[in-house]
Structures are given as C-alpha cells and as structure tokens.
C-alpha cells in the first residue's frame, strides 16, 4: 500500500500521472455567467505550494465556492487557467481530472445505498484497482480517520452520527491518494464542539498526509485555525488579500479585510500561538495557582484565564503537572511590543512570537 506519511511524498501507484501531493496555481481565472453583467470571479490568481492548506474565505456572494468548483471543472472556466502540479486542468477530461482530486462537500453526499466500505471505495473502483488493494486501502483509511473498520465498515451512512459521516466523507476523498483536496465548508453543518474536534482531526490528518488542500469557509476563525494561507475574497470573486494568518491579522490590506477579520484581530493573533511558544517568567516558588494553565493553552485562552482570575499571574504546568512558569498580563501585553522591537533583526529570542509573526 502506498501512502504518504509525515511529509514523505508517496506515489498513488501505477498508472497515476500525479504525485501524492502537488502545487496548485490559479492564473487570472475568470468566471462569467451568460446574461449576468458582473463576473462571478474576476482575474483571480492564487498560488498554493504543495502540501499547504489554502483557505478561501469571504462573505456570501464572494464566489469562494465557485472558485473551488472551477478547480475540478464542476463549473467550466471562462478565462485564465488552473494548474495542478504544473499541468493544466484542461489537459484531461473532467471525469479523469476529478478522479485525481479529493472532493468533500458540506452535506457530505455519502451514498445512502452503499456501506461505509463501498462509499470509501468509490474512486479506487472507478480507477479499476483490484479488490484486495481496495479493501486494504479502505481499512487503512478508516483507521486513519479514527473509526474501527470492523465496527463501521458494513454500516450504512444513516447509521452514523454527523461527525462520523463527515469523517467518512474525508476518507472517501482521500481514497485514491489524490494530490489535491477540495473541501467546501465541510464542517459548516456540524455543531460547534464536534466542528472544533473535526478541525483538530483534519490538522492532525494533514500532518500525516500532506495534501494540498483548498478549503472554503465563511468562518474567519476556522480559516485562521486551518489555513497555512488565507485568500480573502470580496464580491465579484476579487482577491482582497492573500496572506498567512498572522500577516492577515496584523496587516489587513484594506478596510474590507480589516472588517472581515474583525475588530478583535489582535486577540485572534493570540489564538495562533500557545504558551509553549513563548518564554515564560520563572515561577515564584512552587506554589500553584488554581487552576493552573497547561503549556498547550493558546495565549488567547491564557489571557482569558488571567483576566478571569482578576489579573493575578497563573502558574503554567507541563504535561507532567510540573510548574514551568507564569502567565502574566505583562507577559501577554508585551508580546506585540517585543515583536515590534525585534522586527528587522530576525531575532527569535525570548518573548518573540514566531507563530504570530507574518
């Protein structure tokens, strides 16, 4: 079985033309509908390096889903070109192209008349894999998404919870090890707690499979959490800004982006890093505050906890419960200032926030 793990690009197997991950490039992409004055997508150019997650975000009517559906030719291009691994999407037939692109949609679209196993086997079957190879791949994917193959394999989608269905949808999209995955608001219809868990799972999964992913959402927080890069679209499919999450939060290109990312963008930046990413002041003695903060807490959560404690410093503990430092208002307040002072020197010394910097 050929799978990629931890950044090791693997090949899909014989007969495949693309590696297991490939860069994506949108070049001056245009979409116009006949009879409509305004273009749905206007000269959109985006480059996504192989193995990165690009989030398309924007208000409704900004064309983010349209832009995504142009990539797998669910909607035909009006102008420009899209390249996957340097190869134009127009070079192969739509069905051939789509079999090499994972596709996950909000309503999942699992086939209700097929078992979980059969659902996941869809694209391998279309590609004519032999049965034993398909069965092994299906088992592997179910394990990858944290479901027990013996327990859920023979179930029908209606017998799964919403979160499980969405996971199976992701497994189905990954089945033939496509270099590129398209995910259209995959967690949009799921309750906030499950959604947050699925986001974490996707990030964990992505560390393993290293796919190039285009992810559509209207939720800026989800975009910041999931994306390596975020493309903010405005009405007419115009690209307002294309940047990494810290850069987007720190330097919004214009008033539209600033408004879209929200007035609390400084706080959102604090959500990008954890206490483990900063140099903490030494604890004063072994006395523990109650409750202590784990090192894995985001700085935003730490700030919230310190504020809730009336501004008194809270001790920070590592995974073994050992006190490793203090979270204080001064520390958090100083993060941006220090970063400002350190900017230009390329220094990543005490207190600097690599993850918060653009």
């Amino acid at each position: 079985m050929t799978t990629s793990n931890d950044g090791q690009p693997a090949t899909v197997g014989e007969g495949s033309r693309l590696p297991s991950t490939a860069g994506l490039e949108l070049r001056d992409v245009e979409k116009r509908y006949p009879g409509q004055r305004d273009a749905a997508i206007t000269s959109l150019s985006i480059e996504v390096p192989a193995g990165e997650v690009c989030v398309l975000v924007g208000p409704s009517g900004s064309g983010k889903t349209t832009a995504m559906r142009l990539i797998n030719r669910m909607i035909p291009l009006s102008g420009g070109d899209i390249l996957i691994g340097g190869r134009s999407i127009l070079a192969s037939s739509p069905t051939e192209l789509r079999r090499q692109i994972g596709y996950v949609i909000q309503q999942v679209g699992l086939f209700p008349h097929q078992t979980v196993n059969q659902n996941i086997a869809t694209v391998p079957k279309l590609l004519g894999w032999e049965r034993r190879r398909i069965a092994a791949r299906v088992r592997e994917l179910l394990e990858l998404i944290g479901l027990d193959p013996r327990e859920v394999g023979e179930r029908y989608p209606s017998q799964l919870s919403g979160g499980q269905q969405q996971r199976v949808g992701v497994a189905r999209a990954l089945a033939a090890d496509p270099p590129l995955m398209l995910m259209d608001e995959p967690f949009g219809a799921i309750d906030p707690i499950t959604r947050s868990r699925l986001q974490d799972e996707l990030l964990r999964l992505q560390r393993q499979v290293r796919k190039t992913i285009v992810f559509v959402t209207h939720d800026i927080d989800e975009a910041i959490k999931i994306g390596d890069r975020i493309a903010v679209l405005r009405e007419g499919g115009r690209l307002a800004q294309y940047a990494t999450p810290p850069e987007l939060l720190m330097n919004p290109a214009d008033a539209f982006v600033a408004e879209f990312v929200g007035a609390d963008r400084a706080l959102k930046r604090l959500g990008l890093a954890t206490l483990a990413d900063v140099e903490l002041p030494a604890p004063n003695g072994d006395r523990q505050s109650d409750p202590p903060l784990p090192l894995s807490a985001t700085i935003k959560d730490a700030l919230s906890a310190v504020l809730a404690a009336g501004g008194t410093p809270l001790s920070v503990v590592d995974e073994h419960g050992k006190v490793v430092g203090l979270a204080t208002l001064e520390l958090i307040g100083g993060l941006f200032a220090q970063r400002g002072a350190a900017s230009g020197s390329g220094d990543s010394g005490p207190g600097s926030l690599g993850k918060l910097a653009p």
């Binding site: 797998n72 669910m74 739509p94 069905t95 051939e96 192209l97 789509r98 079999r99 090499q100 596709y103 949609i105 909000q106 309503q107 999942v108 679209g109 699992l110 086939f111 209700p112 008349h113 097929q114 078992t115 869809t122 694209v123 279309l126 179930r155 029908y156 209606s158 017998q159 799964l160 919870s161 949808g169 189905r172 999209a173």
Partner: protein
C-alpha cells in the same frame, strides 16, 4: 299465458339434476369446494395461469415504456408534461369503454393483444410518476458528490440514481401490478383469457356463485401474492432502505 317462457332454456345451476353433482352444487350453496376441486385443472388453474401471463406481460411492457419515458423526462424536463397528460387520459378512460374502443381499431379486434394494449395503457401513469419522482428525489448533494468524484453521467445514473430510486420504482410497480390483476378480469370480455372467464360465465349464465367466488378469490390472492413478492424483491435489492438512523 305468455307464449314465450320466462325462464331460460338451459339449466340455471350447471349440474342441476345431474346425479354426479355434489350435494352442495345441487343445493346451490354459496360456496362449493367439490365444484372447485372438480374444475380446478380444467377451468381455474388454466385461467390463473393466463391471468398471470396477462399481468406479467402488461406490467413488463408498461414498465419498459414508462421507465424509458421517465428517464427522458428526467433528462429533458419538457417531456414530462405531455407524458403526464397522455397517460392520465389513458388512466381515466373507463376500462370497459377502452376495451370496446380498442376492439374497433384495425388489426386489434377481439384478441389478447387488444387486452394487453389496454392493460399496458393503465400502468403507464403510475410507473412513470413513481419512477420520475424516485429519480428526482435523489438528493442534489449525492449527485454532486458522485460527479465530483469523477463518475460519468452514465455511472451516476446506474450506480447512484437508479439504486436510490428503486424503492419508489418498486412502489409504483406494486400499485401497477395489483391494479392490473384486478383490471385483467375485464379482459375476458374481448379475449377468452384469465380469471375473468369463469367470473363472466358465472355472471352471465348462472345463479351458482361458486365459480365467481373462486375466481374472484383467486384474483385477490394473486394480487396479494404478487405484492408480497415485490416487497420481498425490494427488501433484497434495497437493504439500506430498511436500516434506520441510530
């Protein structure tokens, strides 16, 4: 005294006065098992087999025509309205009138073909409507996922839309089959076939009711059996439709 006798010439009860007749026959009881067993192999069993043939042919041909039309209407929306209009007209023509009208059509006459044409025309509306609804009820996101994963239009139809439409299609077949079994008794008017033959003969020349009750009962039993068979087929073909969400 009237010159013409009021009573018909022949025996009113088939075996009236026949020393070999069963007691229940001679007494003209409502139902006579003896008569049934005596006439099973010569009257009732052949009639049942003919009835099954009439029904299977009518539903089979009707299914082929209506499903083709439904697929056309699914692809090309404008096909739907004309088909609905025409099949509804067929469906609403009183069956007796339709049988008699068709007898007048050159080339048809008093034949089994004429009976089948009429029976087929009654199945079209039901099968067409159910099949079309079955296809249209396939959720858009399922279709989207199917073609988004690289299925051709044909693969989407055969692997996704058709299996998902099966419960509705079979529901249509069940109604069509049961109503055809009932309707096919009237076919005896124009061709000498099916359970309608003993029923008609009982109506026309007898006050002896066993023949009528036996043949009518067999038609009902046949309808129930055919319906049960189709339910079984559906269970077999659509195991997923039975399982419910947790």
């Amino acid at each position: 005294m009237s010159p013409i006798p009021l009573a018909a010439a022949g025996p009113v009860i088939p075996s009236f006065g026949n020393p070999n007749a069963y007691a229940c026959e001679r007494a003209n009881r409502l139902f006579c098992w003896g008569w049934v067993s005596k006439n099973w192999s010569t009257v009732l069993w052949p009639a049942l087999r003919q009835h099954v043939a009439l029904t299977v042919i009518a539903v089979g041909v009707g299914f082929a025509i209506a499903t083709t039309l439904a697929l056309l209407a699914y692809r090309y929306r404008r096909v739907e309205q004309p088909v609905i209009v025409v099949t509804t007209i067929f469906y609403t023509i009183p069956s007796l009138a339709l049988f008699e009208l068709l007898v007048g059509v050159p080339g048809l006459g008093l034949s089994r073909t004429t009976a089948e044409v009429a029976l087929v025309s009654y199945t079209l509306l039901i099968i067409f409507r159910n099949t079309l609804t079955g296809f249209r009820d396939v959720p858009a996101e399922v279709r989207e996922a199917a073609s988004g994963m690289g299925m051709t239009a044909r693969q989407v139809l055969l692997r996704v839309e058709l299996p998902m439409a099966l419960p509705a299609i079979i529901a249509g077949l069940r109604i069509a089959t049961v109503s055809t079994i009932a309707l096919a008794t009237i076919a005896a008017l124009i061709c000498d076939q099916g359970l309608g033959v003993p029923i008609l003969s009982a109506i026309s020349d007898s006050v002896f009711k066993t023949e009528l009750i036996a043949a009518g009962g067999m038609a009902v039993a046949l309808a129930i059996a055919a319906d049960g068979l189709l339910v079984g087929v559906q269970r077999l073909l659509t195991p997923w439709a039975r399982r419910h969400a947790r």
